[in-house]
């Protein structure tokens, strides 16, 4: 049981970090695109 539990915890926490990490990357791209668009509007 403990073997399985350790795997569940490691994979589970990794999944949470992977999901939110992917969102961080997506939002960073958002931010970069948004700031470019804003600069263009100012010009």
């Amino acid at each position: 049981m403990w073997d399985e539990a350790v795997k569940i915890a490691i994979v589970g926490l990794s999944g949470v970090f992977a999901g939110l990490g992917a969102l961080v990357v997506a939002l960073k791209i958002f931010g970069a695109v948004a700031s470019r668009l804003t600069k263009k509007e100012v010009k």
């Binding site: 539990a5 569940i8 994979v11 926490l13 999944g15 999901g19 939110l20 961080v24 958002f30 668009l37």
Partner: protein, 373 residues
Amino acid sequence: MSGFQLAHKVLMQTGFVNLTLGHVIMWFVGFFFIYLGIKKEYEPLLLIPIGFSIFAVNLPLAPLTGKGEILRIFYHYGLEWEVVPTLIFLGLGAMTDFGPLIANPITLLLGAAAQLGVYIAFFGALLLGFKIPEACSIGIIGGADGPTTIYLTVALAPQILGATAVSAYSYMSMVPLIQPPIIRLLTSKEERRIKMKMLRPVSKLERVLFPIVACLLGCLIVPPSAPLLFMFMLGNLFRECGVVKRLSDAAQNELMNIVTIFLGIAVGATMPASVFLRPQTLLIFFLGLIAFSASTAGGILFAKFMNLFLKEKINPLIGSAGVSAVPMAARVSQKMAMDEDPSNILIMHAMGPNVAGVIGTVLAAGMFIAMVK
């Protein structure tokens, strides 16, 4: 049948004759929740219907929880069919401002780190003799998210639903009491005084795209989290798109209020004396506290860890807001920052990890379902 026999038969069918000590104890539990809701204003929207429902299901012989009876119907269609937690998420999405998170995406990681308590309580539950599905449900209390706790427990361990749901909501309402000592223990005065620079403005396009992208990524990475994540992000899209104000208002107000009533009744209905008055209930409450505390510590410590690499330091107080409990955990961060420096306005920074914590808990629940169900 003589008059005496008839009277005796009627008497034997009254609740008084069938009353047990367990029923009476549960009445006091129910009254205590009602007291907390009314007098202390701890989560009154939930504790009052839960308390009254506990009282009702512990009335002996009352036809409330049998097959086809009213409280059973609330439980069956509301919780077993997963309707209520998902509808609550629709309302939460419509109420959530993801602006601070979009402006400072790195704070999403604090929402992930604050799931640490979920896994610590998971192991704690296993050590205390719970099975893996029950340990998952107990662990998720550390995510400080009531609907997710209910959703996961119904999926994995419905026999402990009453204890996990009440534990989650009780500790959520006690965030202002639980978190400050842990925060003080893990942060120095200097760290609590760190001022963070103002967040950039977030465009409407970003706000509209966020729920779509978050739903896509979250559901692709952890498909079992889709029911909650989809509803959460749909609610948020209602809010941000600006053209369905009626739907957004309905999700935030009327619908949210209605499903909150259903939720309270259905959760209370899972707490008859025979189910609730067991030593394991006390253990679940104890583990819930461990989960909450460890999640708070996880968020703070990860914020301090991030500071080792970041040029612009973040105030570790916002790490503790990574436990969901929106917006209470963010308010605690704000209050503690202002206690050190009244000019330090941290609330918007704390809202980022706070809403990230909601997504993090949903993903953690989805991972448990994917691996255990």
